[in-house]
């Protein structure tokens, strides 16, 4: 038995899952100030009469972090940046409290210029003066060597409520993204911690003795206790839940396309060998490009309620949505109305739908049925053209080796999964246009809850070994070890796997859910003055998004 809770901005939903079915559902309003009551409210009915001994885990998904950022309900945050040579401060500044100090770590993680402690003291005074209690410290190449970030933190941490460190956000290179990620982490830290405290209090009141997880943007889960240091991991977990829902319904190892057709927009996601693709660099939220691993989705301005117009001899669908479909009292004709007119669905008031479509038909000088067909066809064609663009974009992703230029497999989707209002009506047309069989999961809403509830813990570890310097660094984990000159690529892979296992367990993974993939593995001879001076070895390993062991299935197709 798994308890799944989705804490939204307005409502909190809870589901109790047993044997891959939703046994019970409940909903109650979210009171952010008094979240614990909302949680108790929603679960009291749900768990009444249940044997809590059978409970295996609790998984929460929340929009707390996302909403805080989108609605600017964030704390004032000071940033200390060690930017060194490169982009000018004007292109890096994120807010009025962004401060720059001298110092530099280069691409190999070598400290080229030390920091000036007096500059840090001065900034500390400025923060004090302005009442700033949250800080982010970010250095260029700090993932290669976090020593300067640590020194700065030691100087100012006593006077701050919390300090977020850039190198902990991700093992990836991208200084501007590291800055925005660290900023967001610091700015939502209080709010998220408040959330976690209330959840833990709630768990305590029920006396649950099972792991409690939070869903992340990459469709993986993380134990709630370690999540407090990195609240930014929980941003944009909403789309992740619905994609994991599809994974839970169709556990098939093939390339596939998933479409979530809503009222205003359609979200596209792509699966490679059954695993949802991740964003190359990280997710974007409210204009902030981050380093947070997240599922790669593309949102297009076309949905069931998109406004349909006839202008300049052309049918135009969306991107505006001016209300529900005409069949439900909306002001304009929509693709949903066209589907109703064609009898593809029996929802709404058919007469109102036909009346709205007739306005377009008159302008086009065609019959209502013909017009409705054109609208449905064009809606599908437009969605499909975005899907094809996205696949082409993925297949044309730049690669940096000759091997990849000639050998890397291209995506070739073998299945289409469609969820959302119009799914049942148009999945067939979409499948035909895309040349693959189309499936609609039963009860998509339930699929989301199951998807989140069954998602396994994901993690990533990035290693740089430099045998000329004799160091192995995993910046994100604060690891800088000495290595012998004979250290090899195989040694690096072994260390990476070991560290990833440790990390995953710390984040709440069960041993049986740790399925490791080597994402990157490169080894370079370092030659100085015509002699081989050492090796530069780069390894990245990950646990991909997927379901926890023991819950695999592939029969949810209707």
């Amino acid at each position: 038995m798994i308890l799944g809770i989705d804490v939204g901005g307005t409502h909190t939903d809870a589901v109790l899952i047993e044997d891959l079915k939703v046994k019970k559902k409940a909903k109650s309003p979210t009171d952010e100030k008094n979240l614990i009551n909302s949680l108790l409210d929603v679960t009291s009915e749900l768990l009444k009469g249940e044997n809590l001994e059978k409970l295996k885990r609790v998984v929460l998904s929340t929009t707390i972090s996302t909403n805080a950022i989108v609605q600017n309900k964030t704390d004032r945050t000071g940033l200390i940046l060690v930017s060194g040579p490169g982009l000018p401060p004007s292109l890096l500044r994120i807010n009025e409290d962004t401060c720059f100090i001298s110092g530099y770590i280069n691409h190999r993680g070598i400290e080229i210029k030390t920091i000036d402690q007096n500059e840090v003291f001065e900034i500390g005074n400025y923060f004090k003066e302005k009442g700033i209690q949250h800080a982010g410290i970010v250095g260029k190449f700090s993932t290669r060597n976090p020593c300067q970030e640590m020194t700065i933190k030691d100087i100012i941490c006593d006077q701050m409520r919390h300090v977020s460190l850039g190198h902990r956000m991700s093992g990836r290179l991208n200084f501007p993204r590291r800055i925005s990620t660290t900023y967001l982490n610091a700015a939502i830290w209080d709010r998220y911690n408040d959330f976690v405290n209330q959840v833990l209090n709630f768990v305590c009141q029920w006396g649950f003795k099972v792991p409690v997880y939070i869903l992340k943007a990459d469709g993986g889960t993380v134990d709630i206790t370690p999540s407090v240091e990195l609240p930014v991991l929980t941003i944009l977990s909403g789309p992740a839940a619905s994609i994991m829902g599809i994974v839970s319904m169709f556990d098939r190892r093939e390339d596939a396309i998933a479409l979530d057709i809503g009222g205003t927009t359609t979200d596209i996601a792509i699966f490679a060998d059954g695993v949802p693709l991740l964003e190359a660099f990280g997710v974007t939220i409210n204009g902030y490009k981050t380093l947070i691993r997240g599922l790669r989705t593309k949102s297009i301005g076309i949905g069931g309620d998109s406004m349909v117009k006839f202008e300049n001899n052309q049918i135009i669908i969306g991107p505006e949505r001016e209300g529900p479909a005409a069949a439900f009292g909306g002001p304009y004709p929509t693709p949903t109305d066209a589907m109703i007119v064609l009898g593809m669905t029996s929802i709404g008031d058919r007469e109102k739908a036909a009346k709205a479509i007739a306005e377009i038909a008159a302008k086009m000088n065609r019959s209502v049925m013909e017009t409705a067909q054109i609208i449905v066809d064009n809606t599908c064609k437009e969605i499909v053209s975005h899907v094809t663009d996205m696949i082409e974009e993925i297949n044309n992703k730049p690669v940096y080796t000759i091997h990849e230029m000639f050998e890397v497999k291209k995506l070739n989707p073998k299945a289409l999964y469609v969820v959302g209002g119009p799914a049942q009506s148009i999945h067939g047309i979409l499948g035909k246009l895309l040349g693959c069989p189309a499936y609609v999961p039963e009860h998509a809403e339930v699929a989301n809850a199951i998807g989140a509830a069954l998602a396994r813990t994901t993690a990533e570890v990035t290693i740089l070994a430099d045998t000329e310097r004799g160091t192995l660094s995993i910046g994100q984990e604060d690891i800088q070890n000495a290595i012998p000159s004979t250290f090899s690529r195989e040694d690096a892979i072994n260390v990476a796997i070991q560290k990833l296992k440790e990390k995953a367990v710390n984040l709440g993974a069960r041993e049986e859910d740790i399925e490791i993939e080597i994402v990157e593995c490169q080894e370079f001879n370092m030659v100085r003055q015509y002699y081989k001076a050492g090796k530069n070895i780069r390894v990245k390993v990950q646990i991909k998004p997927g379901l926890i062991a023991g819950y695999k299935r592939g029969n949810g197709i209707c």
Binding site: G84, I94, R108, F141, P176, G287, K289, I402, H403, F524
Partner: protein, 439 residues
């Protein structure tokens, strides 16, 4: 959050699995730290910097430029097809209007590859800029093109390919050939009889700094470009003039490279040499990309930068000033020069001994050009290498006049194919490439 500038295309292909040999400067590691720096600076996140995957050039693309002995497939590796393909991709993105300019940050380089290719010289097998230029001339019909080669080594391959082409202006600024490979590129090298002045060489003394480079740019390169009025400007963007480069002796800086790029404002830049892989390339490339995209590069500096250490001497400044005056006046005098150099000759000949340092091949070549006022002139090449191959090539130039074409076709028909190992017929206008093998 981020300031917008021009739209710049970036074709990045570091060929992380290709080297000439494990410890060669042209090895896997060469662009590793550049990649680190470009990624860490987040340059690919700018809305106006767009990364493209390189295309793959074909043997037709190569045969449009070179006479490869015995054939293109033998003298190249897959990596060369990708670096040439990357240059072509960069050009196409510009010509299709998807971006305003583009930088092909690719390897291996190409500017030492000459018209005839018996093997590799100066780390180059095929000339990636020339392959790109001929591709775009064929597909986009551009007429006048200028190549400004800012690599520290004389761009002798590009010069050789366009020696007789009055529509391609090749300007090379480089360390004086008396002090560096390939030992050529003196101001007297000024183009073939029908293309005098469309080869310009600016040799610079060892120790030249930003000041000297920018002086010749302002006093020679930009004024000549203004008068030549090219449809497209290409920068052969070698990065080995840098003060930390291990195989050269100049004092150019990352700031200097960025400023040069901003002033030159090339439509397409293509990476050539540059072997200070840790201390120069990461910063020089970030500087060039920012400059091309119209973004503020003023904070791009080498971490060990010291202004006093990279100044040039007063003597060098005086020397460069004098040289710039001579080169510019030679350019001004290019039309009357033809009469005095060529006179009434109908054909003009030059003999060349070419050493392929990378592959250790020696070639003896005799090039004959038909003196012509209507086009670049029919070119005939008789070349023998110490690997035992003797070849003959007949090259009908782009936008050839009817006379040169007729002569070329007649000579091809009359050539005794048994006399050579291979006879090549290259017709640029008709995009024809024929090979006869004695086989």
């Amino acid at each position: 959050m981020l300031k917008k500038g021009r739209k710049t295309g970036l074709v990045f292909f570091p060929a992380f699995d290709w080297a000439i040999s494990p410890t060669h400067p042209e090895r896997e590691e060469r662009l590793l730290y550049t990649q680190d720096q470009v990624f860490e600076e987040g340059l690919l996140d700018f809305d106006n910097i767009i990364e493209y995957k390189p295309g793959i050039a074909t043997t037709d693309d190569i045969n449009r430029v070179h006479i490869c002995v015995p054939d293109a497939a033998t003298v190249i590796t897959e990596s060369h097809l990708i670096s040439a393909g990357g240059a072509i991709t960069a050009a196409e993105k510009v010509l299709k209007g998807e971006v305003d300019n583009a930088f092909a940050l690719v390897r291996p380089p190409g500017h030492h590859a000459m018209l005839v290719v018996h093997g590799a010289r100066g780390f180059c097998n095929i000339n990636i800029e020339a392959i790109m230029i001929e591709y775009i001339r064929k597909n986009y019909g551009l007429k006048k093109i200028a190549v400004v080669d800012t690599d520290c080594h004389h761009g002798d391959g590009t010069q050789d390919i366009y020696w007789n082409d009055p529509n391609v202006l090749c300007i090379s600024m480089h360390q004086d050939g008396r002090t560096l490979y390939p030992g050529s590129g003196f101001q007297e090298e000024f183009g073939g009889p029908n293309a005098l002045g469309t080869t310009i060489n600016i040799p610079l003394p060892p120790g030249t700094s930003d000041e000297g480079f920018l002086y010749v740019l302002d006093q020679v390169v930009l004024p000549i470009l203004d008068e030549f009025k090219p449809d497209l400007v290409i920068n052969s963007a070698g990065q080995d003039n840098h003060y930390t480069d291990p195989i050269t002796n100049m004092r150019f800086t990352a700031q200097g490279y960025a400023l040069l790029n901003e002033k030159l404002s090339p439509d397409i830049a293509v990476l050539e040499g540059g072997y200070s892989i840790e201390n120069a390339l990461p910063y020089v490339n970030v500087g060039i990309i920012l400059a091309m995209a119209g973004l503020d590069y003023s904070h791009v500096r080498e971490p060990d930068f010291n202004l006093d250490a990279v100044k040039q001497s007063d003597e060098i400044s005086r020397y460069i000033k004098q040289e710039a005056t001579q080169i510019y006046s030679r350019w001004k005098n290019r039309v009357p020069l033809k009469k005095s150099l060529v006179g009434n000759a109908r054909y003009s000949k030059r003999k060349k001994n070419i050493y392929y340092d990378t592959d250790g091949i020696r070639e003896h070549q005799e090039e004959t050009v038909r003196v012509c006022d209507g086009c670049g002139g029919l070119v005939l090449i008789d070349s023998t290498s110490d690997r035992g191959n003797r070849i003959f090539a007949i090259i009908i130039p782009r936008t050839s006049c009817p006379d040169c074409r007729q002569h070329g076709e007649e000579i091809y028909a009359l050539t005794n194919k048994r006399e050579y190992h291979y006879v090549y017929f290259q017709d640029k206008d008709k995009d024809i490439f024929l090979v006869d093998s004695r086989g």
